[in-house]
């Protein structure tokens, strides 16, 4: 069980509504996200991480630009991604963007790289979905080399080779913590271990406990690869308000709207209120009062031996004001309470010998 914990916020910069229920503009969403991150630092949250999508409802297509703006307004909070769709990025460009972000933020850049659950970026950037696996493997290899030791001599299938190449700005090895985001593919878990990178589990439905076998697989794979023990993180969804009732009342209509869209697109039956409550009670929606949410997070941290928990806050078009309120409660009340609960359970373990 880890003893050091990091608690972050994740956002995809969703188009939100104003107080009269009308969608606000994308540029306003981006400026609001900067304000949300500034508040996150003020209330003591460890990191602020931005996704990568190419859809009309999300404004997170260029996270490093938004993160750089946040860097200039903050001093301590770590600035990262959730997740960077590495399969369709050029690792050299990704390196330059985040090494530069690391410089302007004075060492606060971090990354979660994954394959992404959506595939919009493949046709957009001219990649073939059939190369999904190979693309990720090759690009992760090059990115890790650039981050670990330069100059790099490298050749692959999907981009021109590099020979004794230095890429600026230089950064020391390990400067940008780089996690591998995994949505449930065992091969991705094993790959993270093979590259010696920490594991970020994205769990957006169902009980977190059912990912315990993946944690076991990761640990066994690290051993097999001769790698040291590495941290494990969890990304899940949530919303905090003063009371459980208020949190449910605000989140439910937006949850419903979000999943009704997904249901139409994917042919699912839209979720019922009972299913939503089940997700809140024991699944992957961390919704409620600070005490409720803290207890659920502490439970997940214990069940999966986590070192890091990132909350994708305020799912759907929840207005900026309520997003700010949830950040405030998460930072000021939830995180300190989770730390308290985890310290208590560590004491019990120690006392129990």
């Amino acid at each position: 069980m880890p003893t050091h914990f990091e608690f972050g916020l994740d956002t995809f910069l969703p188009i939100t509504v104003d107080e009269s229920g009308n969608s606000i503009t994308g540029d306003q969403v981006i400026r609001n996200a900067v304000e949300e991150a500034v508040l996150a630092e003020t209330v003591g949250i460890d990191s602020f991480n931005i996704g990568e999508h190419y859809r009309t409802e999300f404004m997170d297509s260029a996270s490093h630009v938004v993160l750089a703006a946040i860097a200039s307004r903050t001093e301590r909070i770590r600035l990262g991604t959730a997740v960077t769709v590495l399969s369709t990025q050029d690792p050299v460009r990704l390196y330059t963007d985040f090494a530069t972000l690391d410089a302007v933020s004075n060492g606060r850049a971090q990354l979660v790289v994954g394959r992404g659950s959506l595939t919009d970026s493949f046709p957009l950037f001219g990649f073939d979905l059939a190369d999904y696996e190979e693309l990720f493997e090759e690009k992760l290899d090059l990115l890790v080399r650039l981050l670990r030791r330069q100059p790099v001599t490298w050749s692959g299938k999907f981009r021109s080779p590099l020979t004794n190449q230095f890429v600026s700005p230089p950064i020391p090895e390990g400067r940008i913590p780089t996690w591998v985001g995994v949505g449930g593919s065992p091969q991705s878990v094993v790959r993270a271990a093979r590259f010696g990178l920490p594991l970020m589990l994205a769990v957006i439905a169902g009980r977190p406990e059912r990912f315990a076998p993946y944690v076991e697989l990761y640990k066994r794979a690290l051993e097999q690869e001769g790698q040291p023990a590495l941290p494990i993180g969890l990304h899940s969804l949530g919303f905090v308000a003063e009371t459980d009732e208020e949190a449910l009342e605000i989140q439910w209509p937006f949850y419903k709207e979000q999943f009704d869209w997904a249901a139409r697109e994917r042919g699912w039956r839209p979720p019922t209120y009972e299913q939503f409550l089940a997700e809140v009670d024991h699944g992957s929606m961390y919704v409620g009062s600070p005490e409720t949410v803290a207890n659920r997070i502490a439970g997940a941290v214990r069940a999966l031996s986590l070192s890091r928990f990132d909350l994708l806050y305020a799912l759907g078009r929840i207005p900026h004001e309520q997003r700010l309120a949830t950040i405030e409660l998460y930072g000021r009340e939830v995180i300190p309470r989770v730390r308290e609960l985890l310290a208590a359970s560590t004491d019990l373990v120690v006392a129990g010998g």
Binding site: L118, T119, L129, P186, L217, W268
Partner: protein, 225 residues
């Protein structure tokens, strides 16, 4: 004609029922299914896209008791094989790989995840007919596609349990459908005959049963042509 008269009536030969199951695809669905099948008393062989060694640790941790193998070995050793590869990759498998075998098509086509696939998108008679056309010598049955992998894990119940949910099976080879229904039952679900392979389109993501839990009666009503 006399020559035909001495041919055995294949329909009267009972389907081999040796409790062996092959799974092609060692992703989250394939490994979850392997675990369920082991619990149901099956001898399970499972393959990924490469060597058996590549998935040995994964199988050992996620589906202890199952045997990591190559796809060729899985096909050789099993009469019933579940196809659980990413939908955009099934065409990478050889056309005659599954000759004579019962092939359970557990795949779903979702454009946002699988990318644009005009052939599957335009498959008026269901995506499993495309799979059958790709593997003409296989006995394709559409089944096990309705459940997400965590539902497959969490909803298995013994026969007769009041909250047991239903899983449909659709195919043109009726003995193959029977065999798959026996598998579904042993895995812990009420099997429902969903008719022909073409009728199997009612089990697809744009039909209503996907990712929803139904009783056998409810599902039988939904799949009736």
């Amino acid at each position: 004609m006399a020559v035909e008269a001495i041919q055995p009536d294949v329909r009267s030969v009972p389907e081999v029922d040796d409790r062996s199951l092959g799974i092609v695809g060692a992703g989250k669905f394939g490994t979850t299914l392997a675990r369920a099948a082991i619990a149901a008393g099956y001898d399970v062989a499972i393959s990924g896209s490469g060597a058996a060694d590549d998935i040995a640790l994964t199988v050992d941790v996620l589906a202890p008791g199952a045997r990591a193998a190559t796809t060729e070995e899985v096909v050789r050793d099993s009469e019933v094989i579940v196809l659980a590869v990413p939908t955009h990759r099934f065409r990478e498998l050889p056309r005659d790989l599954f000759a004579g075998k019962i092939l359970v098509d557990a795949m779903n086509y979702w454009e946002p995840v699988d990318g644009d696939d005009p052939e599957l998108e335009g498959a008026a008679e269901g995506t499993s007919t495309v799979v059958q056309a790709r593997f003409p010598s296989a006995r394709v049955v559409k089944s096990l596609n309705q459940l997400g992998y965590h539902q497959l894990e969490e909803h298995r119940r013994p026969d007769g349990a009041s909250d047991r949910i239903a899983v449909g099976a659709a195919g043109d080879d009726r003995r193959a459908v029977d065999a798959v229904m026996r598998l579904v039952d042993r895995l812990g679900f009420d099997p429902v005959d969903a008719g022909t392979l073409e009728n199997g389109r009612v089990l697809e993501p744009d039909g209503s049963p996907v990712a929803v839990t139904y009783s056998a009666d409810e599902l039988a009503k939904l799949v009736s042509p």
